[in-house]
Symmetry: C2
Subunit: 405 residues, 2 copies
Amino acid sequence: MLPLPGLHGTIAASLAAFPSTALDRWALRRIQQTVPGAAIRFTLWDGFSLTSGPAPPVASIRFNNRGALASWVWDPELNFGETYMSGAVSITGDLVSLLEEIYRRFPDTKRRRFRLQGGSNDISRARAHVHRHYDLGNHFYRYWLDREMVYTCAYFPEPGTTLEDAQVAKMERVCRKLQLRRGERVVEAGCGWGALALFMARQYGVSVTAFNLSVEQIAFARERAREQGLSDLVDFVEDDYRNVSGTYDAFVSVGMLEHVGLDGFEQLGAVIDRSLTGNGRGLLHFIGRDRPLPLNAWIRKRIFPGAYPPTLREVCEHVLEPPGLSIFDVENLRPHYATTLHHWLQRFNDASDRIGAMFDEPFVRAWRLYLAGSQAAFTTGCMQLFQVVFGRPSSPGVPWARIGG
Amino acid sequence: MLPLPGLHGTIAASLAAFPSTALDRWALRRIQQTVPGAAIRFTLWDGFSLTSGPAPPVASIRFNNRGALASWVWDPELNFGETYMSGAVSITGDLVSLLEEIYRRFPDTKRRRFRLQGGSNDISRARAHVHRHYDLGNHFYRYWLDREMVYTCAYFPEPGTTLEDAQVAKMERVCRKLQLRRGERVVEAGCGWGALALFMARQYGVSVTAFNLSVEQIAFARERAREQGLSDLVDFVEDDYRNVSGTYDAFVSVGMLEHVGLDGFEQLGAVIDRSLTGNGRGLLHFIGRDRPLPLNAWIRKRIFPGAYPPTLREVCEHVLEPPGLSIFDVENLRPHYATTLHHWLQRFNDASDRIGAMFDEPFVRAWRLYLAGSQAAFTTGCMQLFQVVFGRPSSPGVPWARIGG
């Protein structure tokens, strides 16, 4: 998908020896103008540089060859990531601050309303996508996730809460929002390494049927259930959530909706509808948007194939409204995800040598950029994190008092 | 709009002397079948009655003449209210329980998705609608509202909180959700008798510009501002919210959106957008639905002309999404509105002799039915009460910890 793939390699390296031309400098200026006023220094291989903005630059972007420069003119959204990953572009200064500068200045025309085309996630494609991201090895994720291996937004009662405590606080919050009572049956769609399912069973005495397509995650989760003596209460099922059967008092899905895609929303709504008892409650926790916009092209290519963070409106319209479910509560946890990502990125950077030895440097740079970019997207408001609680309209489910901060 | 208007009068009265025919009994059965299994006794003028449901009837509906019976076959949604109001239908037993039985059994086909047609509320029509409902005389509302004259859903920290305290708690909750700080400027769209505007100025030291089309309410509110020495801080403007000018730190509207109508949503979004500063926050408090459905025809005819309670999705799509506003928080206060209405109905019934002397018996019955029907709509989940907090995506406005119960 790169417009000038060859130029990233040896040919490009030889070009770097040449001084920049007027055309190169025009290209740099053009790139700079896509983020007007950003406090960023843009530099070419021969030292030529441009700076704009009233403040001193927060970071520098250096194009190490002409191919990288040309690829940014062609498709900056995709090739920022591609060239950073390959090393054809270097960044000095704080990566998160740099990305925040870019996101804040991104012109609003780029944020026009659109309707996502194509690419449904049928079960085999969903399985391939899940395998690609989540089966990178549990060791890899152990380096930078918390002790419980929770790979979704945490909840920080105080900004200084540790990540370990914040993930427990998030799980506690989810259970309280669902009003779980001992003996109830819960179904979880997309259970990761099983932390929430095990927490619900252990702390709230509910039985849980938890679905996940990731082979490695399910194996890990089953082992934990055995270790904790919870195998009777928690059933980890290596299958697609669309194959959920039976009825449950609660439906919960934390961090899966982003992977479903708009095309699958009505079916998800139907699964929830047929799974929930008359007094059943549900919770959807997902990365969302204020306005419909596709996920960054590079993130889709390298990190999350098939992913789409929806607006709250799209979730209402396509998931909850068709079965007539009632929205009880919506919380936007945006600042909590920025903080969660801050912790993940710090731990990731601390372990980058070991991760580099497991994979390679482009992999390390790709994941660093993904984590830093996600943090910047939450601090600047390009992305939201919605927790939506819902239930049957006829049930007495809207709680008298909601869970506060 | 009544199909058989003459029959409600003297002709109908004379018919009542006749025994019911097979056709009358067929009609009664047909009416009964519109709410299958409801624990309601349906009775004709000559004592013939039908009862269904496993439980003893919660109440009886008595048709006092053939015209009333025929009008229910023709259009039960409209003519339930019309015939109860005129006295052609009598109800014994608890009115709220009766309406809950009906709402719970209302077949789902009646709740099909639809798109509302016609009837935009331009400013002159909006003014006429507001005048019709809100200019009935402050004395009338004094009989059954709280001390502060707040005619919107209260917030009950405990189910046993008094209505007076619950309305203060609601205003406090709105201010905290808006994160008001001393010296800020607030614009209020649809300010009723001014209670919230005065509360914000008094308790939070903000200046408020408050809009309302009701002549009587604005006069009352201005008088209160003078009495409380708040005229410098609160400017009550007798005008449409569409004429809001200037910029503000907060936009608040409690109980007005239901009167705007879908056609006016984009314009409301544009007003909010041009009024809010970069760090501005907003709150919309409104009666809503799980799925699009017109307001009951009788309520539109007799109580709230031009009103439409929207879904959360419609508010996202047409008000908040076009200007790119970010949703921070949504709370469904349905049980609180059921309790608020319970208080209002009790007070209304206690004052019904005095209200009957001010107006007439059909007026008293109409308002009793409206209040009881609204209470039943909230207890059964036919209606929701959403409080939506929003702001600019780029602002640091999403609070770290939200307001709990």
